[in-house]
Symmetry: C2
Subunit: 85 residues, 2 copies
Amino acid sequence: MDLIDIIGIVAGILTSSSIVPQIVKTLKKKKATEVSVFMFIVMMTGNALWVYYGFDKSDVAIISTNFLALGLNITMLVLKYRYRS
Amino acid sequence: MDLIDIIGIVAGILTSSSIVPQIVKTLKKKKATEVSVFMFIVMMTGNALWVYYGFDKSDVAIISTNFLALGLNITMLVLKYRYRS
């Protein structure tokens, strides 16, 4: 793995990490955040398209970090459903 | 431009678009959202690293959509500063 691939993976972890505070907040408050389900579906569609794109380009950084983001978005969506009011 | 490049650009627009509702909400309420400045700096660092990665790989989809995301994050940060309480 080259340095540039590591840079790509770090980039993807940073851009995916914005969902983590929302997950933590929802778990603590046991109440879903204000972010809409629609927005999560938009983001998950984007992540899925990036994964497809990554496979076409054989790009490990894109594939791995968008799988991570997809997993985080699914977690958030499950929590939103669980803690719906 | 091939179909796969268009798929990449659509993917990037979808994953970047999550910031737009926050910008609209902040402009309407004239009050900054709860999302922390730290989180925006993390995301902008990620976007900047993706742009660097995109140039290295000569990847138009990554470069263009991360410039878009960077622009949206800067806009949100300016609004947060303007409407700080």
